[in-house]
């Protein structure tokens, strides 16, 4: 949008007449200027692009690690499903390694990150974990026959949609927060639903239980660990990104080389090309502020969270 510059349109005749009192931006004064007079102070209070901050390329490349980590995790999960289906991976191996890694991750979070855990909280966590997994074990025969009437194509299509929702709606907050909560419910639910659909294609109850317990650990608990690791140091973040990339590539190499190529291209695009693109289009940003903006009412601190803007 072309913002007209005041001096281009300034009315010429009036300011040269020294007998005229200067024009004032008031409505109740009868001034000797015509109604469409444009003063040199026209649009003085206009502020352009005050809230815009410039981005640094390498910092953005570093930050894109969060996204690529998540996409790698989805790819690894799909690879594990394919291995299970092709009997390359035994369900018992999956269950034991999954539980072991979860235990290690939990102890890591517990001792290294937060030092406030009390003994009874650990007992509560252990109790709820046992309860959860036994329920899952009990439900796996039902979940195995959940989609027996549905065709394969529907399952693959639904799974793709759900994983897409998971990737799109995931909470990619990368700066550190003191208290990390479970990642956004829409994305986690989509991922769990997708894994239920996939699990229902497997043959034995143990397979189903293995995949589902791994899915819960992978999509609900692993993101929390990733956030803690992120806060640790930048080197850990970069190592984690590369590690996950390597694992997903290694796992998919045996399945399909085309997917590996596509995935590597996608990874390069997100990590290197997208930040450059964002910085490139920042120059088209045109943010306008002025006295006509709706003011934000400033209340005392204690009341600020109670009165949020509603769409009235």
């Amino acid at each position: 949008m072309d913002v007209p510059v005041a001096h281009q349109f300034q009315s010429p005749d009036y300011q040269y007449n020294l007998n005229n009192p200067p024009w004032r931006k008031l409505l109740w004064v009868k001034q000797n200027y015509p109604d469409n007079y444009v003063d040199s102070t026209f649009l003085d209070e206009l502020q352009k692009n005050v809230n815009v901050h410039t981005y640094d390329y390498w910092k953005m490349v570093y930050e894109s690690g969060v996204i690529t980590q998540h996409i790698s995790s989805v790819v690894i999960f799909i690879a594990i499903f394919i291995y299970l289906q092709q009997y390359s991976l035994a369900a018992s191996h999956l269950i034991w390694s999954g539980s072991l890694l979860t235990g290690v991750g939990y102890i890591f979070c517990d001792f290294v990150m937060t030092r406030r855990q009390h003994a009874f909280e650990r007992k509560r966590v252990a109790k709820s974990a046992i309860f959860f997994f036994s329920t899952l074990l009990g439900l796996s025969p039902i979940l195995k026959t959940l989609t027996s009437q549905t065709s394969d194509d529907t399952i693959w299509a639904l799974t793709v949609c759900c994983f897409l929702a998971n990737v799109l709606f995931h909470d990619y907050v990368s700066h550190s927060r003191a208290h990390v909560k479970i990642p956004g419910s829409l994305s986690t639910n989509a991922a769990i639903f997708a894994s239920v659909l996939l699990a229902s294609r497997l043959d034995t109850n143990l397979d189903v239980f293995g995949l589902l317990s791994f899915a819960v650990e992978w999509f609900a608990l692993f993101p929390i660990l990733r956030r803690y690791l992120q806060e640790l140091s930048p080197k850990v973040q970069v190592t984690l990104t590369l590690l996950m990339l390597l694992i997903s590539v290694a796992m998919f190499l045996r399945i399909s080389k085309a997917i590996v190529c596509l995935y590597m291209l996608g990874f390069c695009f997100i990590t290197f090309i997208c930040p450059y693109w964002l910085i490139f289009i920042q120059k088209y940003k045109n943010e306008i502020h002025g006295p006509w903006d709706e003011a934000r009412p400033r209340l005392q601190k204690s009341k600020r969270n109670l009165y949020r803007k509603r769409s009235t």
Binding site: M1, L27, W28, N36, L43, E287, A295
Partner: protein, 460 residues
């Protein structure tokens, strides 16, 4: 020079509001100056067809589908045949549209320019640039105002805002403020309760009018001053928040809710107060504070939008839209009222001269003189103006406008001009003279009103 003017807007009587009263009073004054004025608006319920208001103001209530807050469903070409018929019947020279929200007005501007009439537009509101609805409305406004003869804004801030939104040349935008009929808001110093200092708030109770600030400051003010009470008029979604606040702090004897107030009762509510409080977060031109000052109240308002331009400094205390600042400003005002450092009952005499409808009509007439001298642009020039709206939008708007032109040619052939019967012009002067000479009690009231206004005119 005398013109035949057609005012077009979605917002008119029987709806009550700022735009509506602006239209009514401006039209009445223009009729008094000798012009012919008709108004085209959409039908309100059963009220369709042609109606005559005071002094022969002819209103066409066009039957259209109404959506959301009295705005018509925009159909682009649906209104064209009827509008053309109205304009030819009444021999119109100038079309004057009001209100950016009004789809009827935008369509009338588009069709008016296609038919070759002189068109001008008055903008009554401020818009932001950041949220989705603003971006869309601004683009549409850019479209309709690509080809317009003149724009009128109600304050200097509104002029800056409109120039940016519609990418206009600032020389084509005039600032003509709103006005108030001062005789309808005469002060009454005896009506306020001398035992209390009464703060009056009359507005729609919505977020945009700063109701959150009001909820925050009322308990603090009531706590600080023992003899201050509040009267709150108007209704809206935020009324619940205010009532909750009253319950929480047990201020039932200090706050009174009057609900929705009819326009003719506003003055009677205003005179019961000493201070008028306005906490809006954005205002193009706040007519409410002018009405309050006329009625003899001292004004405290947030310093947003066009508000700093409206009242002289001795009639108003400003505050930032912040809770603490408002409390300070109100405290100062209470102090001034208590120790009689200011005499608000004299404001009416001052404001009577500063804001009068005859002044607005005179300035509007100058705008009409200006635009009636402009040359009519050829079609190719008009297409060029629409083309500059944007990379993709420009091309779409050109197509819309070209189709409009073809539709007009079609109408000219199918419903030719000579077949449309011209309407009789209402005999304004004869009607007024008849009423002035006639001694019926009904006419005495309007006669008194007219005489008062003529006195004010003569004084100038």
């Amino acid at each position: 020079m005398l013109y035949n003017i057609c005012m077009v807007s979605d917002f008119f009587y029987p709806n009550m509001g700022g735009v509506e009263s602006h239209l009514y009073h401006l039209s009445q004054r223009l009729i008094q100056r000798g012009h012919k004025v008709i108004i085209a608006t959409h039908a309100y319920g059963n009220r369709t067809g042609v109606r005559y208001l005071t002094n022969g103001l002819k209103v066409y209530y066009v039957p259209t589908l109404v959506i959301h807050y009295e705005a018509t469903l925009p159909t682009l070409y649906g209104f064209f045949p009827l509008l053309r018929n109205i304009l030819i019947r009444e021999d119109i020279d100038i079309i004057h549209g009001h209100g950016a929200f009004s789809a009827l007005c935008q369509e009338a501007i588009l069709h008016g320019k296609t038919m070759g009439y002189k068109v001008c537009f008055t903008d009554h509101s401020l818009f932001g640039f950041a949220d989705a609805s603003s971006i869309l409305t601004n683009k549409l406004l850019k479209f309709t105002l690509s080809d317009i003869d003149h724009v009128i804004c109600v304050s200097h801030t509104s002029k800056e805002n409109t120039v940016l939104r519609a990418a206009l040349s600032p020389r084509n935008v005039s600032v003509i403020p709103n006005a108030v009929v001062a005789s309808q808001f005469k002060p009454d110093p005896s009506a306020a309760d001398p035992n209390w200092i009464t703060i009056v708030v009359i507005s729609r109770l919505v977020y945009r009018k700063g109701m959150d600030l009001l909820v925050a400051i009322i308990p603090r003010i009531c706590n600080m001053y023992r003899n201050v009470r509040f009267i709150i008029g108007g209704d809206g979604p935020k009324r619940i928040d205010l009532e909750q606040m009253r319950e929480k702090h047990l201020l039932h004897d200090r706050i009174e809710f009057l609900g929705s107030i009819k326009h003719h009762d506003v003055r009677n509510v205003l005179v019961q107060g000493n201070i008028f409080l306005n906490t809006s977060l954005t205002e193009a031109f706040c007519i409410a504070i002018v009405e309050a000052a006329c009625a003899g109240l001292f004004v405290v308002s947030t310093k947003v939008g066009g508000v700093p331009e409206v009242l002289p400094t001795h009639m108003i205390n400003y505050a930032m839209p912040e809770e603490d600042d408002l409390v300070i400003a109100i405290s100062k005002a209470i102090h001034m009222i208590r120790y009689e450092e200011v005499d608000p009952s004299r404001f009416n005499d001052e404001l009577k001269d500063l804001y009068s409808w005859s002044n607005v009509a005179e300035r509007t007439e100058k705008v009409y003189d200006l635009i009636s001298q402009t040359q009519e642009a050829p079609l190719i020039e008009r297409l060029r103006r629409y083309y500059g709206c944007g990379l993709y939008a420009g091309k779409i708007f050109c197509m819309v406008m070209a189709l409009d032109y073809l539709f007009w040619i079609f109408l000219e052939i199918m419903l030719p001009r000579h077949a449309i019967e011209r309407a009789e012009t209402f005999p304004y002067k004869k009607y007024r003279d008849y009423f002035n000479n006639n001694r019926s009690p009904f006419s005495q009231l309007s006669q008194q009103h007219e005489l008062e206004e003529q006195e004010d005119d003569d004084k100038k």
